[in-house]
């Protein structure tokens, strides 16, 4: 009898809700199903309960202390009232209303540390990658292990930090480790069993087109792909950014443009085949990875509707490209102080100011090694037509070294330090590249927080002093702040359970969830009988 009942329940359970490609395509709702919220990478939610007029009533709903966490960089997912958060080699399923743990999966056998940026979800499975390059699929309800398959070799300098991007039946994963020599790739793995479907290298092998742009070191040339990308459903195209060439600060051993580092790649989802590429920083010597979100947008540009991709780059410039052809449309200054290039020419190449490479005694260049912006999530809000980007006005010292570069010895060909500076959240009109407003912050220029913005007209972000902020999306006016008292290095999301909107963000060591203040209801504890 019991077994019969179990079987029936099991069958009905299988028929219950599952995350589909369609669900992810729709973008955020009550749920938040992919790292950047939606395939175009907008980090925009249609939720409108929290508005500029009531955001002052926000309060903390719960805090979940993530075991062993030090500098969380993760952006969580939410599905059906459960939040899926990651730390290095670990996933936590948390009751998104109460912050209580439902299950956790910790892979203590995984070698290596490093950060983890988040999970992905499809069907009834939660996916994440370990620092030693295993793609692991877990049951979303129980945390049970479904498969764990390795897709790259740690011995070749590759680790994994990015949240996988799931599109249709594929889990797209990237590669990290570009500061100590490795060869970057993007790979599509089967969501069913982790089988490799395709792999596209970001640095050409000897003899391949582009290999002539390396005088040496191409086999360890970097071009890591440590941030997820975005996806255009209409053209079945993935947009993925690549990191710095290696050795980071030593340009002499690798003369040439060093394709396809510091670039944006457009790849066919089914085959991984190249559609086009655009290199923002040819022959980079300042560790300016192109890792920042390629945001997909249809907008009017010079009197004509264009399908564009926006890219606020670490090198200090803000780019607009045609996302179908890769044609360069516009490159303007993202921050005020850029000293290495006087501008971007009409082909999209930086117009270099001579003498800005790292030197043995140190060369002072703007932006700093942290970049004008970085991987923190930007958001585009269709209600205001504005792009919200965390920017850093900071310069730094770049040193070169005459030591012989040795791959995987973490030798980056020199070093860089930065000093002072200021973080500002900037609202940019992508049509004109003009700033609609900016919100300057105090602090040491250490934060890496992103943004999320809503149909309610609010931008949520963190500041450089560890405060969570709500700003008016139209005007940039401060609506509310909350001191989390830790350096913030993660991007917020928003979700809803039982008709209540929440905004969640990870601090260095914990996840905080906020919502509108509600007076506590008196709770008479129910009758609890303990058999033991």
């Amino acid at each position: 009898m019991t077994r019969f009942a179990l079987t029936v329940l099991f069958v009905s359970a299988c028929a219950s809700a599952q995350v589909s490609f369609e669900d992810i395509s729709k973008g955020p709702s009550e749920d938040w199903l992919t790292y950047a919220g939606s395939y175009p990478g907008w980090r925009y939610s249609p939720l409108r309960q929290i508005t500029p007029s009531n955001a002052k009533l926000m309060s903390a709903k719960w805090v979940y202390r993530v075991p062993d966490a030090r500098g969380l960089r993760m952006s969580p997912l939410v599905y059906k009232g459960v939040m899926y958060a990651t730390n290095t080699n670990a996933v936590y399923a948390i009751d998104a209303r109460s912050g209580r743990l439902v299950w956790q999966y910790r892979d203590v056998r995984a070698k290596g540390g490093g950060v983890n940026r988040g999970a992905a979800i499809l069907g009834d499975r939660v996916y994440f990658t370990s620092s030693d390059n295993y793609l692991t699929a877990l049951d979303r309800r129980s945390g049970a292990l479904i498969f764990s398959r390795q897709f790259a070799d740690v011995e070749k300098g590759t680790t994994s930090t990015s949240a996988p991007l799931i599109v249709k039946d594929k889990v797209i994963v990237g590669s990290a480790g570009g500061d100590s020599g490795m060869r970057g790739f993007i790979a599509a793995l089967s969501a069913a069993n982790g089988d490799e479907i395709w792999r596209t290298w970001t640095v050409p092998a000897k003899g391949e087109p582009g290999s002539e742009t390396w005088s040496g070191f191409a086999e360890w040339g970097g071009g890591a792909t440590w941030l997820s990308g975005t996806f255009d459903r209409e053209t079945n195209t993935l947009y993925w950014t690549t990191g710095n060439p290696w050795p980071d600060f030593a340009g002499a051993p690798r003369l040439g443009d060093n394709l396809y580092t510091c670039s944006l790649l457009a790849l066919d989802l089914d085959t991984g085949k190249w559609k086009w590429h655009f290199q923002f920083t040819p022959h980079d010597t300042h560790d300016w990875d192109a890792q920042s979100w390629p945001i997909l947008l249809d907008m009017e540009f010079r009197g004509r509707m264009r399908k564009v991709v926006l890219h606020a780059n670490r090198n200090g410039f803000f780019y607009v490209l045609d996302r179908i052809t890769g044609e360069f449309l516009r490159g303007t200054q993202l921050i005020d102080k850029v000293t290495w290039a006087s501008g971007i020419d009409d082909k999209g190449r930086p117009v270099l100011i001579p003498g800005k490479d790292p030197t043995p005694e140190g060369n002072w260049v703007c932006p700093s090694v942290k970049g004008a912006t970085n991987w923190m999530g930007q958001s585009y809000n269709p209600m205001t037509g504005l792009l919200y980007v965390l920017t850093l006005e900071q310069c730094g010292m770049y040193n070169s070294s005459s030591q012989e570069p040795v791959p995987m010895k973490n030798f980056a060909g020199g070093g860089a330090t930065e000093e002072g500076g200021q973080v500002l959240l900037r609202a940019i009109d992508p049509k004109t590249a003009k700033r609609a407003w900016e919100y300057p912050m105090t602090g040491a220029g250490r934060m890496w927080t992103g943004t999320v913005s809503t149909a309610g007209g609010v931008v949520f972000t963190g500041d450089d002093d560890g405060q969570m902020l709500a700003l008016d999306a139209k005007t940039g006016k401060l609506l509310w702040h909350f001191n989390m008292s830790e350096t913030l290095t993660a991007s917020p999301i928003t979700y809803a359970v039982d008709g209540k909107q929440y905004v969640a963000i990870a601090s260095a060591t914990a996840i905080f969830s906020f919502g509108l203040f509600e007076p506590a209801e008196p709770l008479t504890p129910p009758k609890v009988t303990l058999g033991k």
């Binding site: 329940l9 009751d95 209580r100 049951d139 790259a152 504890p525 129910p526």
Partner: protein, 271 residues
């Protein structure tokens, strides 16, 4: 003891019990020949007090230790060689190499079952696991198949010693730390009844996984009554329900369940 194992499914046994430390570099450790020789010595003179699988009797359980001091390979060596003065543990006075063989055997016994050649027919055990007579897969999953109310067993051989797995199967309610594993029946104010395992709970909320493997995230404000059972929801009658052979084969099957079997590490073609 099983509290940790439930959540931290990938934790190795050393961390689970927290009290077995091995930094030993002795060549006997992990050497199949030494382990086999040690097994013979063990069978000869130790099961009378420590049980054939180390699960204890007159002497303590060597696998799930209740003693607080950490057990190192050197400490095992010394206990075997010199005995534990003032207790029933006799000195063996075995030569050094034979003593190390015993240490190697105990080391393996305390380690994950997958690292020992657990006897039995794993293929028959697989049928027992997935069959109706035992019904294990109504509640447990392996690699994504099966039920979800009980702990995932995908890595049970890779994480637990044989003696621990055996005890979990034969005496599920013994020595059970309930947190995260509590069998629970909830009656909601709406009249709805949910039966299953309370994965987590406090005075304000309750996170349950029901017999069908569905999650219920409940507010205690909606709960009328919560009954926590005094026993595991896992049936306690497998000693009767399964034959000796079925049990042996089932344990052989479970012992071989490892999340990341050795030799599956990919050598990427990173030219």
């Amino acid at each position: 003891m099983r509290f940790g194992a439930f959540f931290l499914i990938a934790l190795p046994i050393a961390a689970q019990h927290g009290r077995y430390v091995s930094e030993s570099q002795h060549p006997a450790i992990g050497d199949p020949k030494a382990i086999a020789a040690g097994a013979k010595l063990y069978a000869l003179s130790c099961p009378g007090c420590h049980g054939p699988d180390g699960s204890g009797g007159r002497g303590p359980n060597l696998v799930k230790r209740s003693l607080w001091h950490p057990l190192r390979d050197e400490a095992i060596f010394s206990a075997i060689r010199n005995g534990v003065p003032g207790t029933d543990m006799p000195p063996t006075k075995l030569p050094e190499d034979q003593t190390w063989n015993l240490v190697a055997f105990l080391h393996a016994l305390i380690g994950p079952a997958s690292e020992n050649n657990v006897p039995g027919d794993a293929a028959s055990g697989e049928q027992v696991f997935w069959g109706n007579k035992a019904g294990c897969s109504n509640c447990h999953s392996i690699r994504g198949k099966g039920g979800r109310m009980g702990p995932d067993l995908t890595n049970i051989g890779g994480s637990s010693p044989l003696a621990v797995i055996k005890e979990s199967v034969l005496e599920p309610s013994k020595d059970l730390m309930f947190l995260g594993n509590e069998g629970a029946t909830v009656t909601l104010k709406s009249g709805k009844i949910v039966k299953g395992v309370a994965r987590n709970r406090d005075n304000y909320s309750l996170q349950m996984i029901d017999e069908g493997g569905e999650l219920h995230l409940l507010s205690m404000a909606d709960v009328n009554e919560l009954k926590i059972l005094d026993h595991s929801l896992m049936p306690g009658d497998y000693r009767q329900r399964l034959s000796q052979d079925e049990l042996r084969d089932l344990l052989a099957y479970l012992s071989r369940q490892v999340a990341r079997p050795k030799g599956t590490i990919r050598k990427a073609n990173n030219s």
